[in-house]
Every structure is written in C-alpha cells, then in structure tokens.
Symmetry: C2
Subunit: 375 residues, 2 copies
C-alpha cells in the first residue's frame, strides 16, 4: 500500500523500525531468534519498497499470534526426506519463521548434492517470497520460492467463475558479479490484490485486463472483482493467453500445496468431510495450512561461479543498454528497483502512509511497547 | 500451423507417419536409436495437436542435417556433475537426441537423490518442451523443461526496442491418478511466432495485446512485429504486467543459457569478439549453441505417490466441475486437449495441411524414400 499522498506519510528509520517489530514479536512470546527472523523478513519488504507485504501487515500477524491462530515458536519438523528433497511440517507457525527454516534446509541439501527442494505444509502467510529466494545468493546458488497464499479463491480457472486460486507468487533469485542480483518475485495473477484495494479506496479506475465482472466481461472498476467477478491470471483474458497464467497458478498449487499436503484452493478442501472440518476450524481461527515450496541449485553444480556471474553481468548490461521505446527513460532488470529502494531507504528512511503508521501506534499500545521510529 | 481449410488437408496415419520420419532420419545417417528418438519427439507433437512443432518442421531438420549445421549422432557428454546436477554438452547434435539423453540423466539423478537438474549447451532446436517434461511421469516424478530457442530476438525487455529473447518455452508435467496428467507447455511470449505467421498468411487481424509496432504502440496487424515491432511477453504491455513475462523470458535464458554457457539472446553473443565470431559462424550454417534446462523431482521425495495422485485428481475434478462463465462449455486443465487429440488422432488420423504434406513429398523425393502415410 503506497502512501495516499506524500504529505500524509511519515518517514521512519529502517533499523529502528526493525527493532520495533522485533520487540513486538518478542512481546508476543517469540524466541529471540524467531523474533529476529520474523522482523527481518517483514521490514526487508519495506526496505525494498514492497509496501504491500511489510509492516502494513504487522497488525495482522500480531492479531493471529494473540488469538492463537498461528504459533510463534513452532516445532518445524522434517517429516520425510531424501538427499535432495524434504517434506517439512510448519506446525502452524508464523510463516516467516517456518519459511527461513525450510529454505535453510533446501540450501543445506544443495550444498551436499547440488540441488535441494523442500515442500512445506501447515504453515501460514510468510511475507515476500523473494526474501527466501534471495537467501540462496550468498551461497552462490539460484534460489526458488513459491507459496499458495490466499487460497480463499481470488481467481478461477480460465472459463470458470468460482474463485479457486490465491495470487500464488513465484520468486527466483540468481547471483550476478556486480549488484543487483536478478530477483523476480511476482503474483501469478495480473496484479496482487493490494493494488486493487488502493485503486478502490482512491476511487480510481484500473487498466483493462486486470479484472472481470460477474459475467466475465472486462471491467475498469476495481470493485467489480467482488460479487462474482475476479482478478485475472497473468496474461489476462483467454485471447491474450490467460490460460498460461492459469497454468502458473496451478503449478504453484501443485508444488507448494499438493506436493506437501497443504490446503489447495478454496473449494477443494471443502469437498471431503476432512476438508470441510478443516475449513470450519480455519474460520474458527485455526491454522490456514498454507503451503510453500523452496529450492536451491548450486551454480557450480553446472559451471564455474565466476563464468556464470560474468555472463549474467554481460547479459544484464546488454539489456539495460539496449535501445528504448519512445517515452521510456530506462530499462530495468528484475531486482534493480528493490536494490535502489534499499540503498535509498536505509539512508533516507522509509515513508509509511498514515493508516500504516497508525496501525503501528495501535500495536505499540496493545503490546505496551514504545514506538520510537520517526526520523 | 493449422490447416488452411478442412478441404485442403490430408489425413495421415500416425504410426506410418512416424515410420516415415524414422526412415528419413535413418537415410540422413542417424543411428537406429537416434532416428527413433527424433521421430518420436517430432510425431508426438502432431499426435498431441501441436502442429507448429511436428512434421511441418521436418524439412528444416532435414536441411540442417544435410548441410552439416547440426550433427545426427552427437557425442553427448557430461562436462561436470554433482549427485543432483549436471552440465551437458550437446555436441551440436539434433535437439531431440540431445534432449532425450539429457532428460534421462536428470531422471537418473532424481532416482538416486530425489532431484536431478541438467543444463545443456551446444544443442539445437528440440521440438516441444513438453515431451521432455512428460518423460518424468512414468517414473512418478514431476518433470521440468525449458529452452532458449530462437535467440534471434523476437522480444525485447519491457521498455526496450531491440529484440533480445526468443519465445523461451517452459514446460512442467506432474502425474495424476486418472489421466490426463497435468502438462503445461507454453512460450513465455504472449503467443508463439507460428500463430502470427498463420494470421499474416491469411490476412487476419490479431487481438490487441499480441504485438506492438516499431513505436511501441499496440497493433492488430501481425506484420507490425517486423521492422522494429515485436511479439509482447506474456502479460502484454507494462500496465498489464508484461514485465512478469519479461522476467520469465529472462529466467529461461538464465537456466538454459547462462547456467550452461549456451548462446544467450541475440545481442549478447555479438558483444564479445568470440560472440561475434560465433554469430558469423551461425549465419554460415554452424551450430546455434541452443541451451536447454531439464529437471525431475521424485514425488515420493516429498509424500507418498498415491496420496499425491489422489489430491491431484481431486483438484482437477473440482476445477473441471466448477461453475462456468457465460459462453464457456468446458473448463480445461493443462494437458487435457493434447490427451484428447492423442486419442482421436491415433484412431482417426492426423490432418496435415497441404503445404506440410507437400513438404513431406519433397523430403521423400530428396532422400529417395517412399512416402506412404495417407489414410
């Protein structure tokens, strides 16, 4: 959620913001290392400029931890494994703690064999997928991460009307010699839900290709996604290959949901008596049984790291330097906007919009901790 | 390439067509097993109804084998490996032979460790990516395949004007209990180049969102992709998230090109003296140095195969049976159209359009082999 207007936003210090979030999670009973991990994932999102997933969501995590619907110190266990694979049970833990633990397992397996892949069940919302993919970079590995979030059913299959898929993000990170690294991280729907919420709040229209109404017609009204409409998959309508985005949505659900035994889609879980009970338990405040998928590949399992990085740098440089269309000032490579935001925001502070800042004030009051983050 | 009209097409028998292609490859010096592999990949494409990649391309392969620009019996070698990874050199071989060999290596590694990933350099066009992903299915594995084909530069980065990426397909196959299996296989551009060729030949307009002209404006004229225009990445223009498709294009080039040391993009290879020489050699008829990426994950490296398949079946059944938008008769899952085409075409024959049939007549004449495929 971007600031409503520049006037309305509050500049905060990144390190003190992270300290505040750490203190909040500590107050909720998370161990020092769990609170540190959860705070790091959350605030990195704000530092990278991905405001939909950072501290604007803190109050949500706090609420779920307080009412016991997620566990702050989960006993994350490997249920089954082979040298290069593992099934991990997240013990209904806060997603950031489960996610870091599971990606560490993938990296350890890749160190041993060249490749490590971990599918996770019984977890919860884990913040930005890109965080976990990035963890591979310092090991000179290529990192992968997916999650079937929001299986409340934002988007149906092509031709369908019943919401089935969440926004199911895919993230991949690959090292370069010269920063920034390649980091792609995006919802496999056309846009994430947060962008529509902002447009709706501001009374703005959205571009054609984002939303259809309950009759399946394209609409520029963001509110039309409710009451039978929905957010389109990447690719948009069928004639512009929306079925490819539908395939990616399905892929994320297969690797992070079906492969782990996590909840898959809004409707599927309701089909069986067991699923119906789970849905009921969920709406009563129990775990979401969110699934994740993590992967790591050692670059030197294929070719020498320095050769790989040199060719990455060359490719990125050719792309950045190539001729531009009229009206385009710059060509970006994935990971570059976040890298620039990071340098800017660590130095000059993070702008939080007023509702987000107010939500932090409330968290501080509820947990009886000080909020001292303003620049 | 679909038939220009029903009247104009010729029905041929699938098994005799495969025999003909096998005989053609044998006549060009391929060993019995190489000719069998190459014919199987090519004709499966026609059997699945993916007419852009089947026997319509036979004359192209024949031409490249005859002029020596690709090798019919390549010595495919593992250059470097770890228990779960390998770099493979395709020895400038015909892509179908290299591809099958490399995917077999990925599967063997997955048998041993749970995961196997292989990046391939120095190969050539290998037909449909889905063929190789499907090879994982009979081993109860999830299969992955990508290739940076057509690095002649169909599509630039978002905001760019210089063609850089090919159509860079991604394929993933996952087993189900009840057929068909999940098989997605698509270009990461909005559409594959073949669809535009057909529209242009027929003088038809294409939907908005496929092509931009040389000024970066959307166009319904398929010819506008030439002379400075291009095919858009999946997602279309920037405002409908074309940068996500650009990310997928880049991902395919990283995993199949940079990770292996294959050619990457049209422009990058020209940057260095070595690259410029390679480009020159290529236009003189030498190898394309195409890259591929293959992967296999053992389902039982995560959870029992029967549980996985049962949940896949349930999910597919929910999606197929869900409520439809007005005007939609059916909801498809990826892999289903190909499965139905296969059953129909093995029984009732494969319709080849006249230009394709004529190209087979010419191949038969050039190689002095009989063409006896008509139903």
């Amino acid at each position: 959620m971007a600031p409503e207007s520049a006037d309305d936003s509050v500049l905060v210090d990144a390190r003190r913001l992270e300290r505040f979030v750490f203190t909040a999670f500590s107050a909720l009973g998370l161990s020092e290392s769990n609170a540190r991990d959860a705070a790091d994932v959350l605030v990195k999102s704000d530092v990278y400029g991905i405001e939909s997933h950072g501290v604007p969501r803190l109050a949500g995590y706090v609420g779920r931890l307080r009412n016991g619907s997620i566990e702050g110190n989960p006993e994350v266990v490997v249920v089954h494994e082979l040298p290069s694979t593992a099934l991990v049970d997240g013990a209904n833990g806060v997603g950031m703690v489960v996610g870091k633990r599971a990606m560490e397992i993938a990296i350890r397996k890749a160190e041993a064999t060249g490749a490590g892949f971990v599918s996770v069940r019984n977890s919860s919302h884990f913040g930005i997928a890109g965080y976990y993919a990035r963890m591979a970079l310092e090991h000179d590995m290529i990192g992968f991460c997916m999650t079937n979030v929001g299986s409340g059913g934002a988007t149906p299959a092509t031709g369908g009307r019943t919401g089935f898929f969440g926004t199911n993000p895919i993230a991949v990170a690959a090292p370069t010699g010269t920063p920034p690294a390649f980091v792609m991280d995006f919802a496999t729907t056309v846009v994430a839900s947060g962008k529509l919420q902002i447009a709706q709040r501001r009374g703005q229209e959205v571009p054609l290709g984002w939303v259809v109404d309950s009759e399946g017609n394209q609409s520029t009204n963001p509110a039309d996604r409710h009451g039978g409409g929905y957010i389109l998959p990447l690719g948009g309508m069928r004639e512009t290959s929306g079925h490819k985005g539908y395939g990616l949505l399905l892929l994320v659900d297969i690797l992070s949901g079906v492969l782990s035994g996590a909840a898959v889609g809004a409707t599927a879980t309701k089909l069986t008596p067991e699923g119906a009970r789970a849905e009921q338990a969920r709406s009563d405040g129990a775990g979401s049984n969110t699934g994740h998928f993590f992967g790591a590949l050692r670059v030197d399992g294929f070719r020498p790291v320095d050769e790989f990085k040199a060719q990455m740098d060359e490719m990125m440089s050719v792309i950045r330097g190539s001729e531009r269309l009229p009206g385009w000032e710059r060509i970006f490579v994935h990971g570059e906007p976040e890298w620039e935001a990071e340098r800017d925001r660590l130095e000059n502070g993070i702008p939080l919009d007023r509702p987000t800042y107010d939500s932090l004030v409330k968290v501080a009051k509820d947990l009886d901790i000080p909020l001292d983050v303003d620049l």
